[in-house]
């Protein structure tokens, strides 16, 4: 067992070392003869794969323990210790983190393999893999960290990698701007996280600031502080997981290479917020208000993103909004205290969304970086493997039983219903329908009908096997992952939920069979309606529609970006420049300038008294003497 605990430190270390190594290799060779891509490809995959293997070992080790004692912890070193603040660089593997660990390393490895093909020919090949490895390492730190501060290291680390990878094609300004946006918006969230941590620390952190100690002491926390902490941490989560109001960065983040979108902006990083809320379930469970806020923000985000998703024309943007939307579901889940449901959705989502992105990547790859769906069409015949896998992914996303998405989404909706959140449930069902609609709109437009751009169509073909094999593996995952947590009504025993139980503080709602059936039925109906509409409109080929009215409004994403620009970015810049153009010279520096001007004026003025007539100097003396004499006479009285 002890040995396994030691692996915990190694798991993030491998990808991180890989990143450093690849990065240095790249930096020192890129100006001369670039190394062959194979070298990078192999080096890049070593870290994630090793991490996955170790993750499996950890999983096995955990499984061997009694459910209540299922945790392994490993302290690498004392990180910092000042006064009552004592932070260890320590890692914790419990069922929750182990689950995350498994799928992060698994999907991460797959996407690395896929990228070997996808990134071929790029001149910054090495850089890409360095960043990807760095990302994976950071993500693992995030997942494995034994306390909020260590988690924050990973939290910010993945943000950094996200920034670096979004601005990967850095010659294009818009890409870099998208990267900046991602980083800055994430930072807004991180501020919340830091503040939340700080309040938490001054609440109960003095006895140890890792999850286990916090969980043990959580009852000491004052309710008001607990609420503050929950909300602040959730601010962090909205940043990282693209929830209202900080979701705006994620669609722009699609500027990065597609594997990045798959790995970071769909499967792993963006779910960190959900993971974090689940991690703090012991805290959220005690504060119902916070949970409700989380749930409502989540479901509203889901709705909003679904609306946007229906009108997108960029294949990756469609998927991006669907990601936001699904993240909304997850938050709705953890918000209604169905932590395991939320996490389970994270798990399944990782498979099918990564699959969809990689599939989209294959399409884009085949069409020479064409992303507009209205320039595609009829690719079914040219790219059968991609088509099939993507349909599996789409079905999973749309929540078609028995694909994985169905079970996880249904679990969430059922929990909402069972805990009495009818509004959330209703919106959730609506969004489910919309999801089915826009997903299949994309599938139909891209793969069905007639090719719209014949030139591109001619050259389109299925990707090499290094890219398709991961697709197939993911498709299997998307198909079957749901079965892991088969609810009782289908004869399952909710393996995942039970596995997660020791890590989470949740009470499974018992809404009864009726509610369960109601939830399932509603979902299925919504799915069917959604897919039906999509089929009617796009099933047989359609031309790029012209939007007007609400559709136009939605097409422009409700002008939220513009609004933010108007009310935040522009005023910010205006304040910035007014500070150094107006305030600094006229207000802050004015006293200094005034003093120096006065100084000079006085200096010149006093020259006047030096008239040069000796008589006048004598007069000064006598005047001075006169005044002194007067004062002296006065004082002598």
């Amino acid at each position: 067992m002890e040995q396994c605990a030691n692996y915990l430190g190694l798991i993030p270390l491998f990808p991180l070392l890989g990143a450093v190594f690849i990065g240095l290799l790249h930096v020192f060779t890129c100006k001369r003869t670039a190394l062959p891509e194979k070298v990078y490809g192999i080096l890049a995959c070593v870290g994630p794969v090793l991490a996955f293997v170790l993750a499996l070992k950890v999983f096995v080790a955990l499984k061997g323990l009694a459910p209540e004692a299922r945790f392994l912890s490993y302290k690498a070193f004392t990180w910092f210790s000042v006064g009552e603040l004592h932070i260890d660089m320590g890692f914790l593997a419990d069922p929750l983190s182990c689950l995350m660990l498994l799928f992060v390393t698994f999907i991460g490895s797959l996407i690395h393999i896929y990228s070997i093909g996808y990134m071929g020919g790029d001149k910054n090949y090495g850089k890409f893999f360095a960043y990807m490895n760095l990302f994976l390492g950071s993500m693992l730190v995030l997942v494995l960290g034994n306390g909020p501060v260590v988690m924050f290291v990973g939290w910010e680390g993945v943000g950094l990698c996200s920034y670096l990878l979004i601005s990967f094609y850095s010659e294009d300004r818009s890409n870099v701007l998208a990267g900046n946006k991602a980083f800055i918006v994430n930072r807004v969230g991180d501020l919340g996280f830091v503040l939340g941590m700080s309040f938490l620390f001054w609440g109960i952190g003095a006895h140890g600031f890792d999850y286990l100690s916090l969980k043990a002491n959580v009852h000491h926390l004052e309710p008001a502080v607990a609420l503050t902490v929950c909300l602040l941490l959730f601010v962090g989560a909205t940043g990282k997981s693209a929830q209202i109001p900080l979701y705006v960065w994620l669609p722009d983040a699609m500027a990065g290479p597609t594997p990045v979108s798959a790995l970071i902006h769909a499967a792993t990083m963006v779910t960190a917020g959900v993971y974090m809320v689940a991690r703090f379930s012991f805290l959220y469970a005690g504060v119902e208000l916070a949970g409700n806020i989380v749930a409502w923000i989540g479901i509203l985000t889901a709705l909003l993103a679904a609306i946007f998703g229906m009108f997108q024309e960029d294949i990756k943007k469609v998927l991006a909004y669907s990601t936001v939307s699904q993240l909304g579901y997850m938050f709705a889940g953890v918000g209604v205290a169905a932590y395991s449901a939320g996490i389970f959705h994270v798990f399944t989502h990782a498979f099918f969304k990564a699959l969809l992105f990689l599939g989209a990547g294959s399409v884009i790859y085949a069409l020479h970086h064409e992303q507009n769906i209205w320039k595609m069409g009829g690719l079914k015949k040219k790219m059968p493997k991609t088509y099939i896998t993507m349909v599996i992914g789409a079905l999973a996303l749309a929540g078609c039983p028995p694909f994985s998405g169905f079970f996880s989404k249904d679990e969430i909706l059922y929990s909402a219903l069972a805990t009495g959140h009818f509004g959330i449930w209703a919106i959730g069902v609506l969004v489910a329908g919309m999801t089915a609609y826009y997903t299949f709109r994309m599938i139909f437009v891209v793969f069905h009908g007639e090719p719209r751009d014949h030139h591109a169509y001619e050259h389109a073909t299925d990707a090499p096997s290094v890219m398709t094999v991961p697709l197939i593996i993911l498709a299997i995952g998307a198909l079957c992952a749901g079965l892991l947590n088969l609810p009782g009504i289908f004869g399952g025993d909710q393996v995942v939920s039970h596995w997660l139980a020791p890590s989470l503080t949740e009470h499974h709602p018992h809404g009864g069979v009726f509610l369960e059936i109601l939830a399932i039925a509603a979902s299925v109906v919504a799915f069917v309606i959604g897919i039906k509409i999509a089929y009617t409109k796009f099933g047989h080929g359609a031309q790029e529609p012209f939007f007007s009215g609400f559709a136009d409004f939605a097409y422009h994403k409700f002008y939220v970006d513009e609004l933010y620009d108007r009310i935040i970015v522009q005023p910010y810049k205006a304040i910035g420049s007014s500070i150094w153009k107006v305030i600094e010279p006229n207000v802050t520096d004015a006293p200094v300038k005034g003093v120096s001007r006065l100084y000079m004026v006085l200096g010149t003025a006093f020259k006047v008294f030096q008239v040069g007539y000796v008589r006048v100097y004598a007069l000064y003396m006598v005047l001075g003497l006169g005044i002194m004499s007067l004062l002296l006479s006065q004082s002598l009285n």
Partner: protein, 506 residues
Amino acid sequence: MFEHVLSVIIFLPILAGLILLASPASRTIARFTGLVISLATLVLSLELYLRFEATGHLEFVEHISWIKSLGVSYSLGVDGISLFILMAGSVLLPLVYFVFGTKEKGYYANLLIVQGAMAGAICAADMILFYIFWEVMLLPVFFMLGLYGGPRRLPATLKITLYTIAGSLLMLAAIVYLGVSYHAQFNEWSFAMEKMAHLNLTGRVAAVAFFAFMIAFAVKIPLFPFHTWLPDAYTEAPAATTFVLSAVMAKIGVYGVIRFVVPVFDLEFARFAILLAYLGVIGMMYCGLAAITQKDFKRMLAFSSASHMGVIALGVFCMNIQALTGSIYQIVAHATSTGVLFLFAGILEERTNTRTIDDLGGIAAKAPVFALYFAIAMLASVGLPGTSGFIGEFMIVLGAIKFNTAIGVLAGTTLIIGVCYMLWMFQRVFFEKTSSRSEHFKELSFTEGLVFLPVILLIIVMGIYPHPFLSKITPSTALQFAPPASVVAQMPAANAQNYGLTIEQK
């Protein structure tokens, strides 16, 4: 190694600098001398660092009585607080000689003098000695700025000089006031810093003295609204001077607050801490906002430096051990990040002949190593976890939250504000398309790359494994919060038990 290591660290560079100034040495010789001397200083400081025992009290003490009748003495010593500022200077200054190889003799000589003077101010254990070094360290800056600065250097030189001297002369009055008060209360003349903590100062004059100290340090730090000299000076100064100013000298201002204001004026400090903390926060936000639309990257870094100094100062004003330790840690982090960024800015300016951000672009493609180093320093400066910048900033925000929620929250915004202008600048300079100016940008040479490597590694090591560093700081900072016996005695017994609390509530 030997007894007077601190004196050697102080006077070796000063003497070498003076001899250089007086001698007809060529540039090459001057540079070489500077390099050798600063490396020797570095070796001595490292040795000092390793032998440092972290007792919390002054170590390596040297004491020679000077003006007996006034109790003024030549006494030196370092504790965990000063050690790190000293180390920051010793580690970073040799870089300059590597990076800037074609400057005039006076440039190197002045650098040496300023290095020694700063070491003196840091190590001085006597207030008068401190004051002497404090003033002396301004002179080389004055000359470097005036002689080798940019086109608008004269007003900048005058402003920084007069501003700083004005501040510090008031401090002189306050120092003397302390000495006289000590004489009055203990019937013994002394200007030793550690003894001043025993003083029992009350009344209006004490408050005035407190502000005299505070203004002197606030100008140096610079704390809002005493920062207005900074943008001009930092921009116009030659890169090495800006580097010295931001990396070490500004820190001595913070150090002064920790050394003088906190222990001596505990009551006034407790009274005005909230005000000062607000000034720190406002300065951070003000300068951070001002940085965002700068067109000149050096000016932008200048504002950024001021912004960070606001946070560092805030850490001191929060009056708890986390924030204070964070401040000291951040001092080193800031020296290694922003200081090095100023050096990089100097390299950029030297190689492209421009300071305008818009004139540049695409440098990352031309010089990947440079971009990597720059990026690491920049990330440290924005406080990314895993770099040195995070530890300090986190502890400061943490401490600020404990001190005052509003201040803590505002202090946290440094996370956002810092990242905005930095990314914006990085994007324009390093990303995007190559401009005509940056077309022929030369990558760092092998030596340069090698020279910067230790600092870059230090940034990362300090971020990942700060414990060994912190363990040398904490004993000293902990002492700052240990209630002095005399004060406790005067308090009611109930209050004395939670002394820390009472101070904060005031």
